[in-house]
Structure formats: structure tokens, C-alpha cells
């Protein structure tokens, strides 16, 4: 409906705008302040409203939807408690730079500031965890404000945007002309996209001069849909690549050039290669503290190239020798062009020697676990899931050990398949996120790898799964512990386990059934395969696999606080292997 303006109420403008913006799903929960909007909502069916069971669920579902599709996730919640319940999900999206627009109802303009019923300063509360937010004060500016919100959320370094809408703005009887704003101009907001050509050239020169090069990429590649360009780049160079937790899948997880995730629970080889490399290029990653370990000992021999669209990411924690502010896709495309036309060449002998060293680290098998145990090992469950889904499923996860096992044992060959909360580490994210993904891709396998602690933080969304036929598979790695916390207490507090025992657990099978789903409990390794098969055979059902795993399993390797990449704690199995491979120098 372009060109001709029509007279619409605020509520109608919101709905019509969402249609015009191409929004298909709206995750929400009604209440007093948004009643007018809900009235307009039920008069149409272009925008599908998904009634969650808790506003946190709405935000995570929208977030999962956004991560899987690349399109902004959209939520609608009421004022006061609706808005505060949404905050955790908004902060989760903010930390991982996920495009999201959250519409919050607000009390009528004339009572703002009077402690009105269900009034909370939503703009103030959300300010530190949004990319930007708006309070709509003028009905005539509603459409423009919504457009700005979507533009800000999706451009540059993406992020969540809150639009707070007082009830009077949505009144049904007050109508104003509406025309979909195709374009928006904001003088104060110009996300810089293009990397400086001279810097890009310098970067390529430095890369080609390397003897022990390393490529380290992150969520920025996925956010910018730069996977294809990254693959070309990495293959042209023949260098090893590591990816952060947020970057997994951008470069294929099964490709031999990928040497695993880096950081706190990354592979031995990726972390050692980081420590020993002489040139490091970082693209779309932010040198998070779970990556760098102690910064004073980070990459001691490396010259560092950093490509990021956000200038504030560059030299924030680690100084960049060659900073490049630009979009990952554009900069990678430029570098690929230069690589195709350059006279310079790589020192193949040095590169070969470098790969040999990396392979010797790989031989130690840092992810090895006990395959003969009578207890179900969590790693084995993820491997089984990988087999049964051909490595092609969308996997969401919660936060804890299970999240790390998922990242370590389910190699993703495509971007946007691995969906987890990395920056905020929000327990409760997995199930609603899976729901959001399944709504976007109803024909795909979607599984949520979770723990008995995390799943209980948004378990109510099982009802939403039934209502909207989002048949997701819940893989509950049930260790009866807040396992990740228990691991820290084992390592750093001499096993003084303090309040990590998940006592009084519900019977998850019965719980799933009570919600109208299928529940299956697995407690023997021998039953794992069949149960997993069964779960995925039930295409149209949400299945809760409650898998009783080894309580004491730990995530290895681990870089503890204050340690460097070459100071990992390794698993007992790797220690044995290391001893048997014996006598290898770890020095450059």
C-alpha cells in the first residue's frame, strides 16, 4: 500500500506498519495498556500473534526467530510487569547484538509520572540494555518512530529497540493519515559500513607475510550474512580458523581448516594456536573475556588485525595493530579481491610446519570422554543427536555445561543453526528460542539442548508449543545439578557444593504429558539411540527427552580465571594421552 495515505488509529497504524514492514510473527502477551492494539490485532490475520505464557518467553522466542532468520524479532507486551518481564530477554538480545523490536504499552500520556496503575518507566529501565529506545508522544509521529526502531535495530551493529507507546496514542477513535515510511533519515545515526581501502590492503599484506597465521571470527559474520565470503577467504589462504561460541557455523564445523571453538571451553589446538600465532585476524568478534583469558598474556607473539562494524569494539580490551571499521561481508569481499590479484604469496613451508604443530595438538584429543561408562555421558547424547539429525538441525540451548557440550559436539556446517545466549548467558533462553525458530522453519528439525536447571526457568512455554504446533525436541541433559556451577565449586572451592543440587525435580515425562506432549526418559546408554530416533520420528509432536546423565561430568578443556591460552586445564583422559605421546615441546 504505497503512495496513498489512509486515516488510521494508532492501533491500526501499528498493525498496518508491521504488515508493511514484512513482519509475519508477533510474540506477545496482552494487558490493559495494549488493549486497543489487541483489538486491532484480532481483526486481521496477516500478522500472526503468538501468545506466550510469560513475557520473557516472548522476547526469547522473538530473539530465536531473529537469530535463525536474520529478520528482526518483534514483541508486544503491556506496561508495568509486562515490560519488566521482558527486560531479561531484551538484555539477552542486546549482549549478542540481535535485531529485535519490543513494543511496550504505557499508561496514558496524561498520567505518566503519577504512579499510575501498572506504570513503570520502561524507557528508563531498558535504557542500559537496548541499542535505542523511544517514547511515542505524538500520534502523528508513530509510523515514523516505528520505522526508526526497525532501522536502528537492523542496521550497523544490530540490537534490540524498545518503543514505549502510551495507551491514548492507540485510541481507536483518533485517526490520522498513515503512509508507510519507506525510508527514514536520522542525522544522528549513520552506521559506517565501508572498511578503509588502505587499511584493508595493509591487512592483506600482513596476512601474507605470516608464518603462523590465525583467523578468529565471531557473531559478526553471522549477523552480516558473510559466510560465503568468509569461506572463500579462508580457503584461499589455507590458514587455520577458530570461531567463537557466537560464530559457529559461519565456517563449516566439519571442515579440516576449522580447528574448533576457542576460549574458556574451546579446543586445546585452537587455544594454543591463538597463543602461538604471529598474525591474528579477528573479524566480527569482540575479544570477550571468555575468549582472551587474562589479557596481559593474550596472543603474545601476534600482530592483530581487527575488523568490526562497531568502532567501540576495536581496541576495547585488546589493542589492534590494524583496525578496520567496516561490515564483515564488504571487507571480506575486498580482501578476497586483493588476494585474487596480488603478486605476494604465502610462505608455504612455514604454513605447512604450522599445520603440523596444530595437528600434533589435535592428536591429544582434548574433547575425549569415557565412551565405556555405564552412565550416559552428556557428550554422547549430543553426538547421538548429531547422527540422528544428520548435523542439519537447528539447535538452541540454555546455559550451563550442556551448552558447552552442544557447542563442542555438534559441529555446525551452516550459519544461524546454533542459537544460544552467549553474552548474557541467560538460563531459560532455550525453549522459547526453539519455539521461535520452529515458527520460522516449520519443516526443519529444531532441538533444544538444555539442563534440568535451565529448562525450569521458562518451562511454561510448553503450553505455547502445543497451541502453535511448534514441535520441538527438548534434549534435557539431566545431571540433577546446576552442573556448570558445580564444576566451578569442584575446581575452585574444593568440592564444597553449595546449593547446586537440583532437589525435588518434577517428573519431566509426566510434566511433558500434562502439557499434552510426549515425554521419554532415558537412563541407560544402550537406550539412547532408539529414544532419539523415536523423538525425531514424531514429526508433529513436541518431545521431551529426559536423559539421566553422569552427574559428575565436567567440561574440558578449561581456561580458568587469570590464566592464558597455554595454561588450560585438560581432561584426565587427555593427560593420559599427552603422557603417552610424550616429549613434545610447547615452545615457539
Amino acid at each position: 500500500m504505497s503512495g496513498v495515505s489512509v486515516e488510521l488509529s494508532g492501533s491500526e497504524i501499528i498493525i498496518q506498519f508491521l504488515k508493511d514492514e514484512g513482519v509475519k510473527h508477533l510474540f506477545g502477551y496482552p494487558g490493559g495498556a495494549v488493549l486497543h492494539i489487541y483489538d486491532a490485532l484480532q481483526k486481521q490475520d496477516d500478522v500472526m500473534h503468538v501468545l506466550v505464557r510469560h513475557e520473557q518467553g516472548a522476547t526469547h522466542a522473538a530473539d530465536g526467530y531473529a537469530r535463525a532468520t536474520g529478520k528482526p524479532g518483534v514483541c508486544l507486551v503491556t506496561s508495568g510487569p509486562g515490560a519488566t518481564n521482558a527486560v531479561t530477554g531484551i538484555a539477552t538480545a542486546y549482549m549478542d547484538s540481535i535485531p529485535m523490536v519490543v513494543l511496550t504499552g504505557q499508561v496514558p500520556s496524561h498520567v505518566i509520572g503519577c504512579d499510575a496503575f501498572q506504570e513503570v518507566d520502561a524507557v528508563g529501565i531498558s535504557r542500559p540494555c537496548v541499542k535505542h529506545n523511544f517514547l511515542v508522544k505524538d500520534l502523528n509521529k508513530l509510523a515514523e518512530t516505528l520505522k526508526k526502531a526497525f532501522y536502528v535495530a537492523t542496521s550497523g551493529r544490530p540490537g534490540p529497540v524498545v518503543v514505549d507507546i502510551p495507551k491514548d496514542i492507540t485510541a481507536p477513535h483518533i485517526k490520522v493519515p498513515y503512509l508507510y515510511p519507506e525510508k527514514i533519515n536520522m542525522r544522528s545515526y549513520n552506521p559506517n559500513f565501508k572498511g578503509h581501502p588502505r587499511q584493508i590492503k595493509r591487512a592483506v599484506g600482513l596476512l601474507l607475510s605470516a608464518k603462523r597465521p590465525m583467523i578468529y571470527t565471531g557473531g559478526g559474520i553471522i549477523l552480516d550474512d558473510a559466510s560465503a565470503e568468509l569461506r572463500q577467504f579462508v580457503r584461499k589462504l589455507g590458514f587455520p580458523i577458530t570461531q567463537t561460541l557466537m560464530g559457529l557455523g559461519a565456517f563449516p564445523g566439519t571442515d579440516p581448516q576449522f580447528i574448533g571453538m576457542l576460549g574458556m571451553h574451546g579446543t586445546y589446538e585452537a587455544n594454543l594456536a591463538m597463543h602461538e600465532c604471529d598474525v591474528l585476524i579477528c573479524i566480527g568478534a569482540r575479544f570477550d573475556d571468555r575468549i582472551t583469558g587474562v589479557t596481559s598474556k593474550f596472543c603474545p607473539y601476534a600482530q592483530i588485525i581487527h575488523v568490526d562494524i562497531d568502532p567501540a569494539s576495536i581496541s576495547k580490551t585488546i589493542n589492534a595493530d590494524v583496525p578496520i571499521v567496516g561490515g564483515a561481508r564488504q571487507v571480506l569481499a575486498e580482501m578476497n579481491k586483493i588476494l585474487d590479484n596480488t603478486e605476494l604469496s604465502i610462505d608455504q613451508t612455514a604454513l605447512e610446519a604450522w599445520w603440523q604443530r596444530i595437528k600434533s595438538w589435535q592428536e591429544e584429543e582434548s574433547f575425549a570422554y569415557d565412551r565405556n561408562s555405564d552412565l550416559i555421558q552428556p557428550q554422547a547424547v549430543v553426538e547421538e543427536l548429531y547422527q540422528v539429525t544428520n548435523g542439519e538441525a537447528y539447535i538452541t540451548s540454555d546455559v550451563g555445561q550442556h551448552q558447552m557440550f552442544a557447542a563442542q559436539f555438534y559441529p555446525f556446517d551452516e550459519p544461524r543453526r546454533w542459537i544460544n545466549s552467549g553474552g548474557l548467558g541467560t538460563m531459560g533462553f532455550g525453549l522459547p528460542a526453539a519455539m521461535g525458530v520452529k515458527l520460522a522453519f516449520p519443516d526443519k528439525d529444531v532441538a533444544c539442548i538444555t539442563g534440568e536447571g535451565s529448562i525450569q526457568m521458562c518451562i511454561q512455554e510448553l503450553a505455547t508449543c502445543l497451541q502453535y504446533d511448534t514441535a520441538v525436541k527438548i534434549i534435557n541433559l539431566n545431571n540433577r545439578y546446576l552442573g556448570m556451577v558445580r564444576q566451578w565449586q569442584e575446581f575452585f572451592y574444593e568440592k564444597r557444593y553449595s546449593h547446586v543440587n537440583m532437589d525435588s525435580l518434577p517428573d519431566f515425562v509426566k510434566l511433558a504429558e500434562a502439557y499434552g506432549h510426549v515425554g521419554i526418559r532415558v537412563d541407560k546408554p544402550a537406550d539412547l539411540h532408539d529414544a532419539m530416533k523415536e523423538a525425531f520420528k514424531l514429526k508433529s509432536r513436541t518431545v521431551f527427552l529426559d536423559i539421566i546423565t553422569d552427574r559428575e561430568a565436567n567440561v574440558y578443556p578449561m581456561i580458568s580465571a587469570g590464566k592464558a591460552h597455554n595454561e588450560m586445564d585438560i581432561s584426565p583422559l587427555q593427560q593420559q594421552k599427552q603422557a603417552s605421546l610424550k616429549g613434545r615441546g610447547e615452545k615457539v
Binding site: 529506545n133 536502528v152 536520522m186 544522528s188 562497531d310 567501540a312 581496541s315
Partner: protein, 164 residues
């Protein structure tokens, strides 16, 4: 090092809280902050005095620039700039000799007496922070009733300007 950062900001409710919130959330120092509407009523001009290591200052500038409400930013410290602050001081002025003394001191500092009662003077003084400090030091401590300082404002010398 001490830095003086000038900003042009959208003149919107909430812009100030975004900026002050950034400083408190990230633990940056803020010595003073002044703000007022400019000749263009859609813009506010803000001067922030802050301090920190080079890395912190770089982050402050980048994080400020990232705020959607910030239209333009300039770290004046890198150039040739003028910095001024304004101060009101209310002092006790009782009896001939005390009143004369305050007047004499104010003349030396080119301060102006802007309000007079039988027992007090109110003085207005503009200058660098150090000059204002010196005036307060020179004034007998127990003579001072009240001090109001505006925080610094800055402007670049020469033709360079922070405008749209």
C-alpha cells in the same frame, strides 16, 4: 589525563540520561557536565569534562558517538580550545573592612558583585577552573556562605567549529 569533550545532541527528553547513564554504567569518570539548547532548538550542546587513560578516553569517545542521540562529538583536548567556567559565590560582608576586602579581592579577579545586602555580597566570576579555585582559596573560608559552579564549557579557537 583530563579531557574536555563537546557534543551536539538531539534535544530530546532522555538524551541526558543516556549520556550520564553511559558514564555510570561503564564506570567512567565525570568531573562536570554542562548542557543547554543551542540556537537550533532541535540540538543541545553539551560539554563533558572527564579523565582516564588513553584507552578509556578512546572508549568514552566511541561509546558516546555510538549513542543514537549524539549527532556530533569532538574531543577538544586534541586541538586548541578555550575553556571557561562560571561561578557564583555568596560571602559574608559585614562591616566596612570586610566589605572593602571582598571588593578589593573581587577586583583583582575581575569578578563582579551582582547582589548586595547589609550582610552579604553575591559575586559572579568567570574563568578557568584554576582561577575559580584560586578565588575561593583567597576568600576567607569562613566568609563563604555558598558556592555555585556551572562546570566548564569549551569552544575551539580559530575557524574550526563543532556544528552540523
Amino acid at each position: 589525563m583530563r579531557h574536555i569533550v563537546s557534543l551536539l545532541v538531539e534535544n530530546e527528553a532522555g538524551a541526558l540520561s543516556r549520556i550520564s547513564g553511559l558514564f555510570s554504567a561503564r564506570g567512567y569518570n565525570i568531573e562536570s557536565l554542562t548542557v543547554a539548547e543551542t540556537e537550533d532548538s532541535t540540538l543541545s550542546r553539551m560539554t563533558i569534562i572527564t579523565s582516564g587513560s588513553d584507552r578509556i578516553i578512546e572508549q568514552i569517545n566511541k561509546q558516546l558517538n555510538k549513542l543514537v542521540d549524539v549527532v556530533k562529538l569532538q574531543d577538544m583536548t586534541e586541538g586548541n580550545f578555550i575553556e571557561r567556567e562560571m561561578m557564583f559565590v555568596k560571602v559574608k560582608a559585614e562591616g566596612e573592612s570586610q566589605r572593602a576586602e571582598v571588593k578589593r579581592l573581587s577586583d583583582i579577579f575581575r569578578a563582579r558583585i551582582i547582589d548586595v545586602t547589609d550582610t552579604t555580597f553575591c559575586i559572579e566570576l568567570t574563568g578557568s577552573g584554576e582561577k575559580l579555585d584560586a578565588y575561593i582559596r583567597a576568600m576567607h573560608e569562613n566568609n563563604i556562605v555558598e558556592v555555585v559552579r556551572s562546570g566548564s564549557m569549551g569552544i575551539l579557537r580559530g575557524e574550526k567549529a563543532l556544528t552540523l
